[in-house]
């Protein structure tokens, strides 16, 4: 296309000006890439922090809530009776586990008995949240074995694992006995087999691990489990799979996002802020290109005039400027992506003394395809204004100037 060849010639006939223009676009694009990689990196880190040590979907029995029934008499309220004669539990948990495991998105399933209890050591009493698991599945949801600081990660029989802060509070060491009192009123002397320190206060201070078999008589649950915890290969699929499992099992399936709505809101707010910054980067690119091409159209008035005089259409003239915008946008975007990627990759190598990244940046998540398309398209659109002005130039007026 001849208009494209002319546009290319115009751009490269003034390399310094074109280089400046492309550099301007590239800088804005690299800012876009940096912001995107930083926001995505932060989102990935926060999501990983949340999902790495917790279940992605929790299945629990439906909570039975008393309901107000319709009544003819305005002064009377009828309330449905909720039976409390039966424990809320998942009785057919084995079949449910099989169903969950048959889903390709699932990586781990952990049936559990969860409950509340107290640890009593002399006059010291501390409440604990008990998680009872299959001994082999201790690390299924959160890695505990690797966090043992005293004793060993061995469940079964009368063995219990507790967090380091809880142990300190009760003055307990690995190998010592402790009285375990459940919220069902059952007491049993257990042995602290291991003490773990995960760094998460909520775990280290309040959680104790038992085997399911140990927990059954303590929580008076001879058959069922209280909840089934599920981990997925891709945590982002939790909502969809939870909805499916809820339908399939009749249980309440809670995705990790529902338990962390604040995080979701924070990520969304962060995303919106990022979008605003990205928008301003792109707008500055568009204004820069439009003004540069407008100046170019003005500088080349007499050339445009002569082209119009010897019978080239306004459309041809317009195309020359649109192609210039497209070329500047594409080259600037490509250069900006390269610079942005290199800069983000360098930032990703910077670490703190403890080995963690200085900035939670994800260089591969810079939104490269989006910024390439947006910038090239935007630059082309930005060139329409100067293209229109050039195409409408009166040849006689332009030549006479």
């Amino acid at each position: 296309m001849f208009a494209f060849a002319v546009a290319r010639r115009y751009l490269f006939s003034n390399p310094a000006q074109t280089a400046l223009l492309i550099t301007g676009v590239a800088l804005a694009v690299s800012a876009f890439v940096f912001i995107t990689a930083l926001i995505e990196g932060l989102a990935i880190r926060l999501t990983n922090d949340v999902t790495a040590n917790s279940a992605h979907i929790s299945l629990e029995p439906e909570i039975r809530v008393a309901q107000v029934l319709p009544s003819d008499d305005a002064d009377t309220e009828a309330v449905a009776l909720v039976s409390t004669l039966q424990r809320s539990q998942i009785r057919n948990w084995s079949a449910t586990v099989d169903l969950i495991l048959s889903q390709p998105q699932v990586s781990v399933v952990s049936p559990q008995i969860s409950g509340n209890a107290f640890l009593v050591k002399g006059q010291a009493v501390a409440p604990v949240a008990v998680t009872a698991v299959e001994p082999a599945g201790l690390d299924a949801i959160s890695p505990i074995s690797t966090e043992i600081v005293s004793g060993e990660a061995n469940l079964g029989g009368d063995r219990i694992l507790i967090g380091a802060q809880l142990a300190e509070r009760l003055g307990l060491l690995a190998g010592q006995p402790v009285l375990f009192r459940t919220d069902r009123g059952v007491d049993r002397l257990l042995t602290v087999r291991g003490i773990f320190r995960t760094g998460l206060q909520s775990l280290d201070e309040r959680v104790a691990f038992l085997s399911i078999q140990t927990a059954r008589p303590l929580f008076l649950l001879p058959e069922g489990v209280t909840n089934i915890e599920v981990k997925l290969v891709e945590p982002g699929e939790a909502r969809a799979l939870a909805a499916f499992l809820e339908d399939a099992t009749g249980l309440q399936a809670i995705p990790w996002q529902a338990r962390n709505e604040t995080l979701e809101e924070a990520l969304a707010a962060q995303g919106q802020t990022g979008t605003l910054i990205q928008m301003f980067s792109l707008i500055s690119v568009l204004i820069g290109i439009a003004s540069a091409l407008m100046l170019s159209a003005n500088r080349r008035r007499s050339e445009i005039g002569i082209m119009r005089a010897f019978g080239l259409s306004g459309r041809f003239i317009g195309e020359v400027f649109v192609f210039q915008g497209l070329l500047v946008g594409f080259m600037g975007a490509a250069a900006g992506c390269l610079v942005g990627y290199a800069f983000c990759s360098w930032l990703a190598t910077l670490t703190r003394p403890d080995g963690t990244m200085m900035l939670p940046i994800a260089p591969t998540e810079g939104g490269y395809l989006a910024v390439m398309i947006l910038t090239t398209l935007g630059a082309t659109l930005a060139s329409l204004l100067p293209a229109r002005a050039a195409a409408r130039l009166d040849p006689l007026e332009a030549i006479q100037q």
């Binding site: 010639r9 006939s13 050339e303 005089a309 019978g311 259409s313 006689l396 030549i399």
Partner: protein
């Protein structure tokens, strides 16, 4: 024989606020094919305006113009653009070459731009024309590397690229030294004689008019 250009009752006035200036006051003019005509007149007589109207760069306020028997004053803007490209050639006082292109590319430009691409045949014709104006050795020179006289000769070659019926030249030697001006005039006369191209040269220079076969003089917007 059908006249190449036939203008009847051409009037042109320009409005500047409330003030209306009548530049052309009823021009009747005929050009026969193969003529070399000087359009003379003092500054402000309307000769450049008339040239622009015949060149379809300006619309008359009233009157009729036909070129090769075809009414052109009623054409739409797009049709006028196409007509200029296919049937007319222009040489201006300032060469208006495209500085980023070579001499041959400049010559081929009217055809390349209209066709949407530059073919070998176009460049070959451009080279022929450059040879005709004595610049075959400058074909690959950028326009900025040519002298004033050379640029104007390239502009003449460009005007001839699409084999126009009529070449309109507005003070073509007005910006040249005496020697270059002489070369350009001689060149136009040769092309007129050898290729039977019709030239309408707008000038106020008697010396230029002396090279032409006929002269039309305008005074105060009327043909004398």
């Amino acid at each position: 024989m059908i006249p190449l250009v036939e203008a009847r009752g051409i009037r042109k006035s320009f409005r500047n606020g409330e003030e209306v200036t009548e530049v052309l006051r009823g021009i009747d003019l005929t050009l026969e094919p193969g003529e070399l005509v000087a359009l003379m007149g003092p500054s402000g007589s309307g000769k450049s305006t008339l040239l622009s109207i015949i060149g379809l760069l300006l619309r008359p306020t009233s009157g009729q113009i036909s070129i090769s028997g075809e009414r052109v004053d009623t054409l739409s803007d797009a049709e006028r653009t196409r007509f200029r490209n296919r049937r007319l050639g222009f040489v201006f006082q300032f060469h208006h070459l495209l500085p980023d292109f070579t001499a041959s590319e400049n010559v081929a430009f009217p055809e390349s731009g209209a066709a949407g691409g530059q073919s070998a045949a176009m460049l070959s014709r451009a080279h022929e024309l450059l040879e005709r104006v004595g610049l075959s050795d400058r074909a690959d020179f950028r326009a900025t590397r040519l002298s004033g006289g050379q640029k104007q000769r390239v502009a003449i070659a460009r005007a001839l690229m699409n084999k126009p019926n009529l070449v309109l030249a507005d003070e073509p030697t007005g910006n040249l030294d005496r020697k270059s001006a002489e070369q350009v005039l001689e060149l136009m006369r040769e092309i007129n004689r050898d290729e039977k191209s019709t030239f309408l040269i707008c000038t106020h220079d008697e010396h230029v008019a002396a090279h032409c076969s006929r002269r039309i003089t305008l005074v105060d917007g009327r043909v004398m």
